[in-house]
Amino acid sequence: MSRRLLPSGDAALLVECDTLDEVLALHDALAAEPPAGVLELVPAARTILVSVDPERLPLESAATWVRRIPADSAARRSRLEAGVAATSVAATAIDEAVVDEVIVDVVYDGDDLRHTAGLLGVSAESLVARHQAAAWRVAFIGFAPGFGYLVSDDWPFEVPRLDAPRPRVPPGAVALAGAFAGVYPRQSPGGWRVIGRTDAVLWDPASPSPALFVPGRRVRFRAVDRA
């Protein structure tokens, strides 16, 4: 695993990895035992932003800490095997370390389901079966509050985005793009291919744990007849 440290102001550094898998492994290792003064870890597709309070943890010390994390992902495996959920390093009181896996009930009747299955050369029924069978994991959040990018080792597909994004995608739309699955937390424009819908509340700013999908959380989808 290679790892580059890039400057990001006087209170953060950006750690770059070669692949998303390396990001996930390193994120888990960093989140397992953050030193005092680490305020937040923000994973993305190839990077993790490490935010610190420089008065408690100088950036040079944070850099040393990041460099010393072993290159193998043993920490990740052992933590997953132990059933420990991911990140809880935030400076806030939000307790998100309790839920290890969430199950999201889906009505698979999305406008793009059949066409997307056709693009991938499978039947709609088979695409739905694979979507449910896959063990998903929230890799990172982007685009909007609570919009999780879900990845799975069991998911073989690369799904092209819509040529023209929809101006309005309804909240709860279950969608695919690239190697990712996602669910729209609220109505927004969007270019992902919609295969279903859920009643699950993805984002509730009034709740002490506002996001259903937080980095590291495991997710499974389950077909239901009616949302």
Binding site: L6, P7, S8, G9, D10, A11, A12, L14, L39, E40, L41, V42, P43, A44, A45, R46, T47, I48, L49, S51, T87, A90, A91, T92, A93, I94, F140, I141, G142, F143, A144, P145, G146, F147, P205, A206, P210, A211, V214, P215
Partner: protein
């Protein structure tokens, strides 16, 4: 306090909601943070009490009960009951008094603090409005009644007038720190960043401040996978023009960040007027 005229945009802001970027939530909060801190100190509030960020002025509000208030940030005419009142000063409004904040002459964002702070609902630990994510209290509408919190323990400081440093009218120089993707740009672009005369474009809000000037040329072509940004990140879009990302920015961005405005310079960005000249120096 009843808002009679909110002006173009009046938002409740405190020091924001840090630490939630991994959930997709930006820090938000007052764009000119030192103006909020100063206004709060003038009326004896804790630094992070919620104030009103008032864009450009044209603001009028009535106090039903007596209150202490202070106006900082942008520089322009302030009047209490039609009598001119000094800005950057603790002012006592009697019951029924009308506060008027006129069009800003310097800067663009006034901060109004009241003793006790605005007691609006808290979302994710903050009373701030995040304009991009639509979190927190909505823009203040004409006729809105804003409740004021309990009087803080601290008294109104005896020294009730702050040395006023109104936002400058001329060129503003901002200190820059290296950005994570400086290497994605040509040497010429990195030199141009510091040599050129930039100007604030008309496209500037709480999400980002876009600058006009020469195009910054990329050395590395292609797409950048989205990555987390910090406030002050100077993101360069496909056309080569820089945008300074501000408090309500999307927490991840897909354009390379060439440099980062030092936190000490970031409040000055909040007060830039469209067309105003901006220069960069090394922090």
């Amino acid at each position: 306090m009843v808002v009679v005229e909110p002006g173009p945009l009046a938002l409740v802001e405190d020091l924001g909601r840090p630490g939630l970027a991994r959930l997709g939530v930006a820090g938000s909060g007052a764009l000119d943070r030192s103006a909020l801190r100063l206004a709060n100190r003038l009326v004896g509030n804790p630094d992070g009490a919620a104030g009103l960020e008032i864009l450009m002025g044209g603001f009028r509000a009535r106090f039903d009960d007596e209150a202490w208030l202070a106006v900082t940030g942008a520089w322009g005419p302030v009047a209490l009951d039609d009598r001119p009142a000094p800005p950057y000063t603790a002012l006592r409004a009697s019951a029924g008094a009308m506060l008027e904040i006129g069009t800003a002459e310097r800067g663009v964002r006034y901060v109004l603090a009241v003793r006790g702070g605005f007691d609006e609902p808290v979302t994710l630990g903050s009373r701030s409005r995040d304009t991009l994510a639509a979190i927190g209290p909505g823009p203040v509408a004409a006729g809105a009644a804003l409740s004021i919190g309990a009087r803080p323990e601290a008294s109104v400081p005896l020294l009730d007038r702050a040395a006023a440093f109104p936002p400058p009218a001329g060129a503003v120089t901002l200190a820059l720190m290296p950005g994570p993707r400086a290497e994605w740009f040509t040497d010429a672009a990195r030199t141009t960043l510091f040599d050129a005369e930039w100007r604030l474009s008309g496209q500037a809000d709480r999400v980002g401040a876009r600058l006009t000037g020469p195009a910054l040329e990329r050395r590395v072509p292609g797409e950048l996978a989205s990555e987390a940004t910090v406030p002050g990140s100077i993101q360069v879009a496909g056309d080569g023009r820089p945008t300074i990302l501000l408090a309500d920015r999307p927490v991840t961005g897909g354009y390379p960040v060439i440099a980062i405005v030092a936190p000490a310079s970031l409040d000055a960005v909040a007060q830039l007027r469209p067309g105003q000249e901006v220069r960069f120096r090394h922090a």
